[in-house]
Amino acid sequence: MTDFDIGAAGPPLVTLRDICVSFGGVHALDHASLELCAGEVLALVGHNGAGKSTLAKVLSGACARDSGTISIGGVEAAISSPRDARQYGIETIYQTLALADNIDAAANIFLGRELKTSWGTLDDLAMEAQARAVMGRLNPQFARFKDPVKSLSGGQRQSVAIARTILFNARILIMDEPTAALGPQETAQVGDLIRKLKAEGLAILLISHDIHDVFDLADRICAMKNGRVVATARVADVSKDEVLGMIILGKCPPGALAGPGAVDPSRFDAPAHTAP
């Protein structure tokens, strides 16, 4: 399985290889492999429980893996905690947003990386100033920097979670269902942001249930089923129906690269669908 280079522009920035995670007796991830390049959006799709979020959490250091390796820029990376992942420039927007509800937006944005004064104390004003600058780019209407984020709307909370990731010059961005809680207008904003960040050269791993979003935003699609990678394909090479086939049936369409999770093509009466 060394030829995962389908559609990848240049050498991969991130390589996940043969990642296995099991909870009790359940194989949440079974030899899952993935490559992600700078300046591309890779969509990770699949049913609930397919292992998308777990794979993302392995990369972000929030979930320990049983086996498998992670390489960043061709060098094996030791990631075993969220702290480690941040060191490698990996930022994550979690599905739950992972905000501390009782503290304000600036404090959340800088959580774990607070700015300090020369006295070693928290420099709240400097943090607020930077938070205002970054939120001005994301959500210019946002003005409630002093309120606990609990009192913010879904979209505002989402902007806080996004601001946290882009403020620190991330190289790799993991977005777990970034638009699940948003209205149409806010969803469009997030879409614009993803395109902008991609143009800035970030590698983006997008987890989504929304097949339209995926076709709209992603360069490549990686489908998972039962903890295994079914197939990886360039968005241009597959149709929406074929992607649904990947997700639901585990069927690898022509033009896609089959993974270990692809079912035997002979089960479908279509000899043309043989994996390359």
Binding site: L99, A100, L111, L125, A129, D147, S151
Partner: protein
């Protein structure tokens, strides 16, 4: 749009940017004081009673400052009363037995060595409990309930239950009393120093906000705040200085120094009591830790969402251990104040103190759900509780009835706080 309909006083009030919850606590405290003053026929708001109230509140207030952080981080510490008793016994033995054997009685550094040893012990006991809570993942309720039994037993074990007394003369100053107060002149110095600190911090806030291009508070608001704060500080000093030493002690003092007693006796003011100074210092330091350091920020973040704190790369376990270490430190400090005041270390010292401390924190607006609470509010809660008790003593209310009243107030406070919170969040303010 809504602002234009507000009248000028309301606008001014809003520009002060004060925390309404803390203001509510202060108002409650003042109401209680005035009510007791009227009910007792003018016995409550006297220099003597207020001075005593301040000394009685200090031991609980010291621990309450630590309990806030414990509760904010979604933990609880039921062991502090027993820990206080245990460390108190250790400090008693060190200063009456161990150190005198080495250096003789009334060695000038006895108090410092004793206190240092006691505080170290407190930190170690807290670290042990914190380690079990954070790394072995046993709920703090269980760990510290165990601690409550273990440390109380250990306190008995130090001297097989014998009371240790009398204590070192210098150490005793930590307990207050005429000797354990700093007198009129030093009280004024402390008061003026505090006023200067208030002015400096207000000025500093203005320059910093300007530096980052934020609108500073209206200058009138800053001046008003500063003036009120200074008036309260200097007023408190004046009250402490208006309470004279009792004539008997003055006579003994005069005799010892060969001063001829004038006709009407000698007016020697108590000034601020040392335990009160200790409690104030604890309040300032703990507020600083909670609001201005990473440690404090992490404690609140953990209380708000432990998972998010972990995902943000915070070493949450180590933060929890530090919270318990701090609590142990403050329990030991409070133990020093308590045994100094009693001039004896007993193995029952601090029994049920943990419940008073938790109650004070809750009355002061700390939420047991975690993430919410301020050091200042909790310490005010301690003063409110002590005021209730002191007032009822003045009224001649029996102890059982006192307990009933404090219990009712505790539940009432928690209810009011829940109402306040529900209202403010539903309004989305």
């Amino acid at each position: 749009m809504k602002q234009s309909r507000l009248r000028l006083p309301a606008l001014f009030f809003r520009s002060l940017g004060l925390d309404t919850r803390t203001l509510g606590l202060i108002a409650t405290l003042l109401l209680i004081w005035i009510a007791f003053h009227l009910l007792t026929g003018g016995l409550f708001l006297t220099p003597r009673n207020l001075w005593n109230l301040s000394v009685q509140s200090s031991a609980i207030a010291i621990m309450t400052a630590g309990m806030v952080l414990v509760i904010v981080s979604r933990n609880i510490d039921l062991s502090i009363g027993s820990m206080l008793g245990f460390v108190g016994m250790i400090m008693g033995v060190i200063q009456t037995d161990l150190l005198p054997k080495l250096f003789g009685f009334e060695y000038p550094a006895t108090w410092a060595l004793t206190l240092a040893a006691g505080l170290t012990f407190g930190v170690l006991l807290g670290a042990l409990q914190g380690f079990i809570v954070a790394y072995i993942e046993i709920p703090s309720f269980i760990v510290t309930l165990g601690g409550l039994l273990v440390w109380r037993g250990a306190a008995w074990w130090v001297t097989s239950g014998q009371t240790v007394a009398p204590l070192d003369d210098t150490f005793k100053l930590m307990g207050g009393g005429p000797e354990g107060s700093i007198g009129a002149m030093w009280s004024w110095f402390v008061g003026l120093g505090a006023c200067a600190a208030v002015a400096l911090s207000l000025a500093n806030g203005r320059t910093k906000r300007k530096k980052f291009g934020f609108l500073p508070r209206p200058i009138a608001a800053d001046i008003f705040l500063g003036a009120v704060a200074c008036a309260v500080i200097l007023g408190a000093v004046a009250v402490a200085n208006a309470y004279p030493w009792p004539p008997g002690i003055v006579a003994r003092y005069a005799q010892a120094r060969h001063i001829a007693l004038p006709e009407g006796g000698l007016f020697i003011a108590h000034g601020i009591a040392i335990p009160v100074l200790i409690a104030m210092a604890v309040g300032v330091v703990m507020t600083f830790l909670a609001k201005r350091t990473r440690f404090g920020r992490y404690v609140y973040a953990i209380g708000g969402n432990p998972e998010a704190a972990e995902l943000a790369g915070i070493n949450t376990r180590w933060v929890i251990v530090k919270v318990f270490m701090l609590m142990g430190f403050l329990a030991a400090l409070s133990g020093a104040v308590m045994i100094a005041r009693l001039n004896a270390a007993t193995n029952a010292e601090g029994t049920l103190a943990e419940l008073l401390v938790i109650a004070a924190a809750v009355i002061g607006g700390t939420s047991l759900a975690g993430g919410v609470g301020t050091v200042a509010g909790a310490m005010l809660g301690a003063v409110i509780m002590q005021s209730l008790q002191s007032g009822m003593v003045l009224l001649g209310v029996d102890t059982p009835l006192q307990n009933i009243a404090v219990g009712v107030v505790l539940v009432l406070a928690a209810w009011l706080d829940a109402l306040y919170r529900r209202r403010t969040t539903s309004q989305g303010v």
